[in-house]
Subunit: 293 residues, 2 copies
């Protein structure tokens, strides 16, 4: 792993470099034994991390639900910058030197308690290829409607936890079907979110340009990249909509993207067995909104 | 931690002792970063592990859903015995020297791939106290009905994964309400399962003795201890029922237990704010069925 790791603990609230080649986590760490922790994935470009305040805010919201402490914004920023200062050269896909910055807070061991770490890695070529070439996706039922869970804080609605086994299984299932990505749907057919991304689609009709994303308050993770895109689109005179979106809406759209902090806006060029229109011009526009946010 | 750790990997398929005081897990292990792994908790008494074949079978079922490899029964048994041979003395609550044996299979790092480990620890006094004194529990809505997820293998229905953040949050919520344990309910009020246990209740009426547990096929984890208890009860002439159970059924029962491999049968003496009958004689009977299984 060509990553740089910075550990934040009681002795090092602003972080200290650690060797990523050496195991750092105890076997009884509850982040491991119970998926009991939270995380954020950030993007850095040319050594500067993006949307830091937004990510720290969402990390803090996850932490409140999970009853975990978080590093202060100042401590975390210091740790991220320490990691970036010592990172391998960023990947370059034409938008600058890019790193992914993963921030994790784990419940830790019963003895030592919670701790945090930051992992800084060059963005890989596979990510740049997805941005350029797009991905194929399949719709997979989420079983229940996650809106049913949204009212109960002990179900951690909207918290970005380490308990991602189902998301990973959905991705494996998508790949077994020959697709790259999984997009979850509710029992009523509503499109929810990608396994590790938000869904955004564009319609351009008689001069009216509209971006639509699924309802953010209905049990799906509030996407920081989707929010950034919507803010920029609003400023650019676009109409904005918040679902509900059905599969037919995606198939009728002029462009569909899976958006997330590191991948930015990845065009979906195939949904189940149906081709979707890909609009390089629109993708460039949307990518531009987030690439320098 | 007074535990013994045995690691199973490509170089040591039958396991090798590792120092539990030293970090053994890399920061990019997907068991940690994605809760992407599976586990089983077993009980050993006087150095002999119980229900080994049953646990290996459930681990294998979890592994099939999660597309993970598992050690063969022979390799895993060898690793468990190695751990038990080097373990600290077992806890003694009057039923022999007891250890918990936790078996984990993690997805591992992207580079090295899946690996497994076994952690053997003396059963703590707190567990013996729960068996003696019982616990208080609160009913907490699970939001959706997990039966809705049961038909979709990518949702890992019935797999015992490391992604337990919600179960842990439910336990914290129960404790914030002054209770020891959380029991999940479906939207229709059906009792589902404890956060880390199965629910079993007993009725004794006009000479007919009945044990009832929630429907095992409806999206809850199939309990190995519940199954052992039912097998023994059947042989002892009890009637057996498989839900649906409502809160009122638990309140009307002659005894309610949370059952799991290490804790055995823990009497529930309070449900929400209502006292439940505790029957030490029945608890001794049920415990006896599993203590020497």
């Amino acid at each position: 792993m060509t990553s740089t790791v910075v550990v934040l603990d009681a002795a090092h609230p602003g972080g200290v470099l650690a060797d990523p080649a050496v195991p750092l986590v105890r076997i009884d760490d509850q982040g491991l034994t119970r998926g009991d922790g939270i995380f954020e994935s950030l993007r850095a470009v040319d050594g500067r991390v993006q949307k830091f305040a937004v990510h720290h805010r969402r990390l803090s919201a996850s932490a409140r639900l999970a009853q975990l402490p978080v590093p202060s914004a100042q401590e975390l920023r210091q740790a991220v910058e320490l990691g970036l200062d010592h990172a391998a050269p960023g990947g370059d896909g034409g938008l600058g030197a890019e790193h992914s910055v993963k921030v994790v807070v784990s419940r830790g061991t019963p003895e030592a308690g919670p701790w945090s770490w930051v992992v800084v890695s060059p963005v890989p070529e596979s990510t740049f290829r997805q941005r350029r070439e797009g991905v194929s996706a399949v719709l997979l039922p989420r079983g229940h409607d996650p809106a049913q869970d949204a009212g109960y804080p002990w179900l951690l609605p909207g918290a970005k936890t380490l308990s991602y086994a189902i998301n990973m299984a959905a991705l494996r299932h998508a790949r077994s079907l020959g697709a790259d990505e999984a997009v979850f749907t509710a029992p009523d057919g509503r499109v929810l979110e990608g396994a590790t991304s938000s869904v955004v689609c564009a319609r351009v009709h008689e001069g009216v340009r509209t971006l639509v994303t699924p309802e953010p308050s209905h049990g799906i993770l509030p996407g920081t990249t989707q929010a950034t895109i919507f803010d920029a689109a609003r400023g650019d005179g676009w109409e904005l909509g918040h679902g509900p979106l059905q599969a037919a809406d995606l198939l009728a759209a002029d462009a569909v993207w899976l958006v997330s902090s590191v991948r930015l806006a990845v065009p979906v060029r195939r949904l189940d067995s149906r081709p979707l229109p890909v609009d390089p011009e629109l993708t460039r526009l949307v990518t531009g909104w987030v690439a320098r946010a």
